[in-house]
């Protein structure tokens, strides 16, 4: 007999070992998230997936589901908290969407749209962060890094390398590269690696493919981040673009998550 949790009053089955997030995704229930990606170990850092379990706030991507949990997810109060978290992520970095190649394909931006975020609310930090364009086919713009460690985990767990890490504390936190010079060009990352494509924002970009899909026809111009079957669309987009390959012009880009 299956076990159940309740999300916003709806019974959701789960298997032993699944997190609340796993169970929700399997049941097509969207819990906003940024640092989580099925197939990678949970990180629990962005706190966007915060839900109320029997009155206590927990991260659904790290909390194992257990029988009898009464979970609140889609409530005005949680939407407000999540919006505040998202606003903090925006002002802590330099998110000038009109000048960012990721715009329209960016999960941070899409989550902000989903939460009806109109402004950053807090004073801007305008941190000075380094760009690394040393790699022949990838570029790192740390201005937009949200320290989600998806690239760190993808490199370690899927690519079997250890190209990225987050270093430092507080406002000094930043993405570092495991290479003799600290430059991406001297690391062993390759274009085929998941780490090269997993960044949810415009912090790791593929060179020579900018603006292949016009603004207005990108993933989140056509889809809401709350569509839980979006993984399909995203996977299709992060597949490599073979020259001459037919693609649906309505389905947005080739690269990017």
């Amino acid at each position: 007999m299956s076990k159940f949790i309740k999300i916003d009053g709806v019974e959701v089955p789960f298997e032993e070992g699944q997190t609340i997030m796993d169970a929700a995704l399997a049941a097509d229930i969207y819990i906003p998230h940024l640092c989580h990606r099925p197939g990678l170990s949970p990180h629990g850092s962005c706190k966007l997936c915060t839900v109320d379990v029997n009155g206590r706030a927990v991260s659904s991507c790290t909390m194992p589901a257990s029988e009898g949990m009464e979970i609140e997810n889609d409530t005005p109060a949680l939407k407000k908290v999540r919006k505040t978290i998202t606003q903090m992520l925006f002002v802590e970095g330099n998110h000038l969407c009109p000048s960012c190649e990721k715009t329209g394909d960016c999960t941070l931006q899409a989550v902000a749209y989903h939460l009806d975020m109109l402004d950053g609310h807090f004073p801007q930090f305008y941190p000075r962060r380094e760009v690394d364009a040393s790699h022949s086919s990838l570029v790192i713009d740390r201005d937009r890094c949200i320290m989600c460690e998806l690239c760190v985990r993808a490199s370690r767990e899927i690519d079997g390398k250890d190209v990225f890490a987050i270093s430092g504390r507080g406002t000094g936190r930043h993405l570092i590269v495991n290479s003799p010079t600290g430059k991406l060009g001297d690391s062993d990352i390759e274009l085929d690696d998941l780490a090269a494509h997993i960044c949810p924002v415009g912090a790791i970009l593929i060179k020579d493919h900018g603006y292949e899909v016009p603004i207005g026809r990108r993933t989140f111009d056509l889809h809401s981040v709350a569509e839980t079957d979006l993984e399909e669309v995203i996977l299709k987009k992060s597949a490599h673009h073979d020259e001459g390959e037919e693609r649906d012009p309505n389905e947005g880009g080739v690269y990017g998550v």
Binding site: L96, D116, H121
Partner: protein, 184 residues
């Protein structure tokens, strides 16, 4: 006999600070809908009519970020005169493209633009007293005055302008449908 009410028009002021006037152009993209709008609205200070100062108004639309002392002065005039102040577009909301200079010191920016850039002749940093002093960093509006509503976009679409103004004219809380919510 039916009573006839004469309702005075809603007064709207607009300005572009450190912006590209793109938001104003997008506003004008509402095309013939502006005729309907003008039945309910009249403009105070605006680049559309070239009135130079803001008088007491109902709605102020401010495009652009704050990059010099004059921008701050104009913004404060708007705040003092407008019952409702709306930050319009990416620059007004988070500094936008003008804020990209915040990565550099003001001195570096001036030297690059007026001394070192390719094709500069008679290199000197302008120092005419008429030129407003630059701020050391570019700031969004809400860091200096209270902003009542935000209309994001680079620029916001004409439809978004129409939606927010219509909501306000109807006495409703302005809200953007998801299809009109864009930061780019």
């Amino acid at each position: 006999m039916r009573e006839v009410f004469t309702v005075s028009k809603v007064r709207v002021a607009t300005t572009s600070l450190a912006g590209c006037f793109g938001c104003h152009m997008s506003f004008l993209d509402m095309d013939e809908r502006i005729v309907g709008l003008l039945e309910h609205v009249e403009f105070s200070r605006s680049p559309i009519n070239d009135i130079k100062h803001c008088d007491p108004c109902d709605i102020g639309l401010v495009e652009g970020a704050l990059c010099n002392a004059d921008n701050v002065h104009v913004l404060k005039e708007f705040r003092e005169n407008c019952k409702i102040l709306i930050a319009v577009g990416a620059c007004a909301i988070n500094g936008g493209v003008p804020a990209m200079r915040n990565h550099f010191t003001l001195q570096e920016c001036l030297e690059e633009a007026f001394l070192d850039m390719i094709g500069v002749d008679n290199p000197h940093i302008p120092n005419d007293v008429e030129i407003p002093l630059l701020l050391s960093k570019v700031h969004p509006l809400h860091e200096v005055v209270k902003v009542d509503y935000y209309l994001p976009g680079c620029p916001p679409s004409a439809d978004a302008f129409v939606k927010v103004l219509t909501d306000l004219l109807e006495g409703k809380e302005p809200s953007l449908p998801k299809s009109m919510l864009h930061y780019d």
